[in-house]
């Protein structure tokens, strides 16, 4: 162990039956104890990436490679994949209101997950559920387990969702915009929780479009643009010195919370291409301020510095 990454996507390519590529080329790595933030614009393919790892996209054709704990997932039988789902890797979703079944108590839903993967009795499962809810900071976990999703606040629901995801001790936790539907003060509570999970040794993949959230919770970041990973590296380094022009523009567009107030925020002209009309060369070329002739050939993801990778001709040594 150790050397092998927990999760490694290599040239993951996903297309519709019609042939339109939704994901062009996604390569990223998550190690144990790391949290990888996946950022990018709406529609860039962040959720699709997560769902392909979970194997929840039956209608789409995937190629490339998804290695989880050294095992190749693509081409795996659904029966085997299912055993990993929920036990080896777990996922939490954006809207905890709709993600739970509305007609059963949250305790019953967490029990179900435990019993799906481990041969324990109802009583034991419930005891574990209550303990988990308590660990997630849900007040009076025993009573909370008996309540229905609509009877809990958004923050408590998301905690219950995280408790469910963690119930079988997964090695990888995928969180798809876990705080977008929540208030800032509640978001802070959930992010603190995610940091604790990461520190306890699990790998975390956190999907978001909020750079602040990534900076706060993640150790690494991958920037996705139009179905491609264009930059990946340690958070601090990427934040301090973004390499890819898109990452640079993305960071500049965030209004500052202190210091001088700019007259106008820098913006990116144009908009991202749709999956069926991606440019031949660099996908960011139509909006890039450094575009030059050799951008007409799509640049591969390279490693100009130790641990940092970027797909842009500016860094072709």
């Amino acid at each position: 162990m150790g050397a092998e990454a927990l999760l490694k996507l290599h040239h993951l390519h996903l297309e519709l039956p019609t042939g339109t590529a939704l994901l062009e080329d996604v390569s990223l790595t998550v190690k144990r104890g790391d949290a990888l933030g996946v950022v990018g614009e709406s529609g860039s393919g962040k959720s699709l990436t997560a769902m392909s790892v979970m194997g929840l996209l039956p209608g789409l054709k995937a190629s490339g490679s998804i290695r989880f704990e050294g095992r190749e997932l693509l081409g795996m039988k659904d029966r085997e994949w299912r055993r990993l789902r929920g036990a080896g890797m777990a996922m939490i979703f954006q809207d905890p209101m709709t993600a739970f079944l509305p007609v059963r108590s949250i305790g019953a839903q967490i029990d179900e997950q435990i019993r799906l993967h481990e041969p324990v009795s109802r009583r034991e499962a419930r005891a574990r559920t209550v303990a988990l809810l308590g660990r997630m900071g849900v007040p009076d976990p025993e009573a909370a387990a008996k309540r229905y999703p609509h009877q809990l606040s958004g923050g408590l629901r998301q905690r219950a969702m995280i408790a469910m995801a963690l119930s079988c001790g997964p090695a990888l936790l995928i969180a798809d915009e876990p705080t977008t539907a929540l208030d800032v003060t509640v978001q802070a509570q959930i992010l603190t929780l995610l940091c604790e999970i990461r520190d306890s040794g699990a790998g975390v993949m956190l999907i978001t479009h909020d750079m602040g959230v990534v900076a706060q919770t993640c150790t690494h970041v991958a920037v996705v643009y139009s179905g491609l990973v264009v930059e990946q590296g340690p958070v601090a380094a990427v934040m301090a010195l973004p390499l890819h022009p898109y990452t640079q523009a993305l960071l500049e567009a965030i209004p500052p919370l202190d210091g001088p107030r700019p007259d106008a925020l820098p913006t990116i002209p144009g908009r991202p291409p749709t999956p069926d009309a991606r440019p031949e060369g660099c996908v960011f070329a139509p909006r890039c301020r450094y575009v030059r002739p050799d951008c007409a050939v799509r640049p591969a993801l390279r490693e100009p510095e130790e641990g940092r990778r970027v797909a842009c001709v500016l860094y072709n040594a």
């Binding site: 606040s153 958004g154 208030d183 978001q187 602040g212 958070v235 993305l250 567009a253 106008a264 913006t267």
Partner: protein, 310 residues
């Protein structure tokens, strides 16, 4: 600066089916000056949207008054309000629902002017489209052909058609990506500078508010707890809740401080005394008994707290 809009002791209560009352807005007083941008911030359900709507006469207040240019507009009938409508417009978060999917952009944009019997519609549309950064060639297209950011621009153009003095923008950027958000924030600032439109900007994103607004009013459970110049308030908040909101914004340069405990209490049964005392890290016994009144702390700043941070 002259006062454009003034609210005095404004309250809005909703009667619920169980005979309970939900106090969405309680006893709010505020002023908006001509050409100024006032931001309303606070967590979900604190009454920002309700206040914004009540300010411009969409729904009458349960008590209290609203004055526009010194004339009372609250409690007027819809008919009587018609005269004021063109002067106050609203922009909503969800731009897709504002547009009828079966009508072209041109028709939708022309509608407010047609209703109010104005002339020179075509020229007005052309100027406004230029101002929001779109070309006139899009008039014959349908809403679904636009991106979220473009639709929000059109939405703003629609609100500006009648040349309002006041724009209430309810979370105009919350559904947008960061890069598109930046475009809309810039646009709203430009429009304010060039047209002198006053703006009530509702948001929960403090960074956007800081970029957009002149003054800020922080709400908690239907009440304003702190008000003042946006840079001054965000640099050194006086109310513990404002402090907590600011601390909860994730930022690269510092680890997250311990977050506030608990959730926002229900507005149906708000806590006694200071409504924030159930979560306030500085709460003292007095806070749960006596409600703090808004009082002056420094130049143009007010705060409702027994133990302010200033």
């Amino acid at each position: 600066m002259t006062i454009l809009l003034e609210a005095k002791n404004l309250s809005k209560h909703y009667r619920l089916s169980h005979g309970e009352t939900l106090r969405a807005v309680s006893n709010v007083s505020l002023v908006v000056h001509r050409g100024e941008a006032l931001a309303l911030v606070g967590e979900s359900g604190c009454g920002k949207s309700t206040l914004g709507r009540t300010l411009i006469g969409l729904g009458s207040p349960s008590s209290g008054d609203v004055f526009f240019e010194g004339e009372r507009i609250s409690g007027l009938s819809d008919r009587a309000l018609r005269r004021w409508r063109p002067r106050m417009q609203m922009v909503f978060q969800d731009s897709s629902s504002t547009f009828n999917p079966r009508r072209t952009i041109g028709e939708t944009l022309a509608e407010p002017m047609r209703i109010h019997g104005r002339t020179g519609i075509a020229e007005r549309i052309a100027t406004l489209l230029e101002q929001v950064g779109l070309s006139s060639s899009i008039l014959s297209r349908y809403p679904h052909e636009f991106s979220g950011g473009q639709r929000q621009r059109l939405n703003i153009a629609r609100a500006l058609m009648l040349g309002p003095d006041l724009l209430v923008a309810d979370e105009p950027t919350s559904a947008l990506d960061v890069s598109v958000q930046a475009q809309i924030v810039n646009l709203l600032r430009d429009l304010r500078n060039s047209l002198g439109v006053a703006c009530v900007f509702i948001s929960h994103d403090l960074a956007v508010v800081r970029q957009m607004a002149d003054r800020i009013a922080v709400m908690y459970l239907g009440r304003i707890v702190e008000e003042g110049d946006v840079l001054a308030v965000l640099d050194a908040p006086a109310h513990p809740y404002t402090r907590a909101l600011l601390d909860a914004v994730p930022r690269p340069d510092r680890p997250l401080p311990p977050p506030l405990k608990g959730d926002v209490p229900s507005p149906i049964h708000p806590p006694q005394g200071c409504a924030f005392h159930t979560r306030c890290p500085l709460a003292q016994p007095r806070c749960s008994q006596e409600r703090p009144q808004l009082r002056q702390v420094g130049e143009g700043r007010t705060v409702a707290c027994h133990y302010p941070l200033l």
